[in-house]
């Protein structure tokens, strides 16, 4: 029996440890299937609860639904699973860059439940970010179960994400692209294959359970060369709307925090406001897939002004839902706002040039969606592939690329950080692999310190010190209080050369009279960026490092460069 175990272990080692590609593909597809199941479960349960609640929407008291949902959702997040509100994508990105993709097991279901409560009750949010969170947590925990290292865990987090997005939209390429473009941030050969397989696995799960093949089916569009110019203009419009949407999302959240209300009060207020908006604009409630479908099919009944107002109503409703305690993502709202923008643009275009002869209203709804996704997430490839896949509208690929790239560039110009990254950048947590910030945050001070310095007492006579100097190659001598071992100052040989060469001084001085007490010191708690700034501002090459007033060692630019370079090589190598 033991012999069999040993042989199995040897086999496992030879197959998986030496080359982990097969292992990553197998575990990645498992992650893709699991997160696909989670995504499909959320989508189906949302559909059924929204259908079940629809008859009650006509009553005047229906505005309490979103309020109740938001309260339950925030209560669940705050008190039961104790996680932060919000959509969770920045947390996943941060965990990938800082903690090797480590995520809690409960994250794999917490956002699913809270966003089900928020969106099911009518809150304006999307189910995609929650399934991304859940999928990545599933991937991370599978990696934990298999005891994989950080690099492999990150791949599995990417697999979970790809599987979730692929399943909820039935769009495998969009899943792959989103996972790499937004979550991992680096196109690495070793990542792409497992993630692609996980995305396909997730999409298959979705196809097996939900019979319809394409999320938004439609008749083929007749998109031609004459649509390029209008799509240019549309791209500028979507860029503006994207920036507006991003700003609205962030400021409503900040406003809610400023009020100082308890979380349940915020949820009640926010939910009720969304409910009231929903009385006038029923389209804004929920994830809005049904209305997107009707816009793409070209049978969206409302007129220009109503549609125009609906764009802002949806922006407001989403901002309030997410900022005031609800839980969910911005993917579906982006699609909704994008298609509304596209329809508004088409209607205006049709009024101005009745005979322009460009494609239908549905095609512009499609282009608008791409524009918003690319503008808000600043992820142009995700925008293009997602729309192509969820609509099957491959004939519109050329204007899609135009709208996506222009909208992305324009909104980047207006608002340099995308919605997902903005919080991270503000907190200094945006650490993409191979960047300076990432390397500086990975190296910590205690790794960089040169230790083993001879310390001298402040009561030492200078002559004694000179004797010691003859046999030492140290350039810095930390001076300490011999009773308490506390750091008092530093003697830098360069600074005392004049006195060291004058024997008349030898018996006249104690070390406390000659040490430099003003030299800046770093502490073990400082991060490397702070230490480097300190060195740069004061034109220093070496700093003493203290821990609790005791001298630990010196940190020097030479040593930093040495390790920095090694770290850069490690991080940018392909394996």
């Amino acid at each position: 029996m033991i012999a069999v175990m040993n042989r199995f272990k040897r086999f496992y080692y030879r197959v998986f440890q030496l080359d982990d590609r097969l292992l990553l593909i197998i575990s990645g597809s498992i992650a893709g299937i699991c997160s696909g199941l989670a995504a499909v479960a959320l989508r189906l349960s949302l559909e059924s609860v929204l259908t079940w609640l629809r008859p009650f929407r006509h009553y005047g008291w229906a505005f309490v639904f979103p309020a109740a949902g938001a309260v339950l959702s925030s209560f669940f997040l705050e008190k039961i699973v104790r996680e932060k509100a919000g959509h969770g994508v920045p947390e996943v990105i941060y965990s990938v860059s800082r903690y090797g993709g480590l995520l809690k097991l409960r994250s794999s279901y917490s956002r699913l439940i809270s966003s089900f409560l928020t969106i099911g009750s009518g809150g304006s949010a999307g189910p995609e970010a929650p399934v991304v969170m859940s999928g990545s947590a599933i991937g991370s925990n599978i990696a934990g179960f298999l005891r994989l290292n950080d690099r492999q865990r990150i791949t599995l987090v990417g697999c979970g994400t790809a599987g979730a997005i692929a399943a909820i939209f039935n769009a495998p390429i969009a899943g792959l692209v989103f996972s790499i473009e937004v979550i991992l941030g680096e196109w690495k050969f070793v990542n792409i294959i497992p993630i692609a397989i996980a995305a396909v696995a997730g999409a298959h799960v979705s196809q097996a359970i939900i019979p319809e093949n394409i999320l938004f089916s439609h008749h083929p569009f007749d998109v031609g060369i004459s649509d390029i110019l209008p799509s240019l203009c549309l791209a500028l419009l979507t860029a503006l709307v994207s920036v507006l949407f991003t700003k609205a999302l962030r400021q409503t959240g900040a406003l809610a925090k400023k009020t100082g209300f308890p979380f349940w009060a915020r949820a009640v207020i926010g939910g009720s406001v969304v409910g009231v908006i929903g009385m006038f604009f029923p389209q804004v409630l929920g994830e809005g897939y049904r209305f997107i479908q009707s816009m793409i099919s070209g049978d969206f009944p409302s007129g220009l002004f109503f549609t125009f107002a609906a764009v802002f109503a949806k922006i407001l409703a989403t901002a309030i839902t997410l900022g005031w305690g609800g839980s969910g993502g911005i993917f579906a709202p982006c699609l909704m706002i994008g298609s509304l923008t596209g329809v508004v643009f088409y209607k205006i275009l049709f009024i101005l040039f009745p005979n322009i002869g460009c494609a239908s209203e549905g095609a512009y709804a499609l282009l608008g969606m791409t524009g918003l996704i690319s503008g808000v997430m600043q992820a142009p490839l995700t925008g293009i592939f997602l729309i192509v896949e969820i609509t099957g509208g491959y004939e519109a690929i050329l204007p899609l690329i135009v709208v996506s790239s222009i909208s992305c560039t324009m909104s980047h110009y207006l608002e340099p950080a995308s919605f997902y990254f903005k919080d991270l950048i503000e907190r200094g947590q945006f650490l993409r692999p191979g960047t300076d910030a990432r390397i500086l945050s990975d190296l910590n001070i205690s790794e960089l310190i040169s230790r083993g310095y001879i310390k001298v007492s402040e009561n030492m006579v200078f002559r004694e010190f000179i004797e010691m100097l003859k046999t030492s190659d140290q350039n810095f001598f930390p001076v300490i209080d011999e009773k308490t071992d506390a750091y008092k100052g530093m003697i830098e040989i360069r600074a005392i050369r004049k006195y060291a060469l004058d024997p008349g001084m030898y018996d006249m001085l104690f070390l406390n009279q000659i040490m430099d007490t003003n030299m800046l010191t770093a502490s073990l708690e400082n991060d490397l960026q702070e230490v480097l700034d300190m060195m740069e501002i004061n034109h220093m090459d070496t700093l003493p490092v203290l821990d609790n007033h005791r001298f630990v060692g010196m940190i020097s630019k030479t040593r930093i460069l040495d390790l920095y370079r090694r770290e850069l090589i490690m991080q940018t190598s392909n394996r």
């Binding site: 006579v461 004049k498 006195y499 001084m505 001085l509 009279q513 960026q529 034109h539």
Partner: protein, 224 residues
């Protein structure tokens, strides 16, 4: 505001060749064509903020030149004064009567000063040989406004436990508000006392004005 390559190289702390390479590689926001590159300050600030690079638009050299103002020994001797015929037969009494003579010390601090100087003598004698001692406290005297060097000639030589075991007849008190000044004055004094002519001159108990003038000429030859 526009900057040239040489300005920018100063601010970034790199040589102009590096700047040119960065421009060629498309890493710096530049206006103008080679070789007459110009850089707009606004663009550079944006670029620096994006890449977390510190641009130092103030002058780098100025900082280092500060604190270099020399303080001369002769000046300190003028402040501290030269005193003759100090009575007393042993270390403590000569120090006490010397400190009593030195002006420019607040009266409340004289006892404290004596204690500190004695403490220093007990730890290690300041007698440097040739009948000269340099008594001083170990810690800077924060209550002083300026540095004082006081030269005291003793009426009778005193056994001082000096390096060469010879009795001491001249005391140079160094009293400073900061360690840096102390080091500076000590170093200049040590230079002067290496000069045998000066020591011979000192032994003749010269007139204060002559002594100060002598110190002035000597300290000029002292390497900074």
């Amino acid at each position: 505001m526009e900057l040239s390559i040489s300005d920018l190289s100063k601010y970034l702390g790199v040589i102009p060749d590096t700047i040119e390479r960065w421009v060629r590689q498309g890493k710096l926001p530049v206006s103008g064509k080679a070789p007459d590159y110009r850089f707009r300050k606004v663009d550079l600030e944006k670029w620096a903020a994006l890449h977390h690079i510190r641009l130092n638009f103030s002058d780098r050299q100025r900082l280092e030149k500060q604190n270099q103002a020399d303080f001369f020994l002769s000046e300190a001797v003028r402040m501290g004064g030269i005193h003759f015929d100090i009575p007393g037969g042993e270390v403590k009494t000569v120090l006490e009567s010397s400190i009593g003579r030195i002006s420019n010390i607040p009266d409340d601090f004289r006892d404290d000063l004596l204690e500190r100087v004695m403490e220093r003598e007990n730890a290690l004698s300041t007698g440097i040989g040739n009948g000269i001692a340099i008594p001083h406290p170990r810690e800077p005297l924060t209550y002083l406004n300026q540095a004082l060097v006081s030269i005291c000639f003793l009426s009778t030589p005193v056994e001082y436990n000096a390096l060469d075991r010879r009795p001491v007849s001249v005391l140079f008190f160094i009293l400073c508000p900061s360690l840096k000044l102390h080091l500076n004055l000590l170093s200049t004094l040590s230079f002067c006392l290496k000069n045998t002519q000066f020591i011979g001159f000192l032994k003749s108990k010269p007139e204060p004005d002559l002594l100060i003038r002598q110190i002035e000429t000597l300290q000029k030859t002292c390497p900074a």
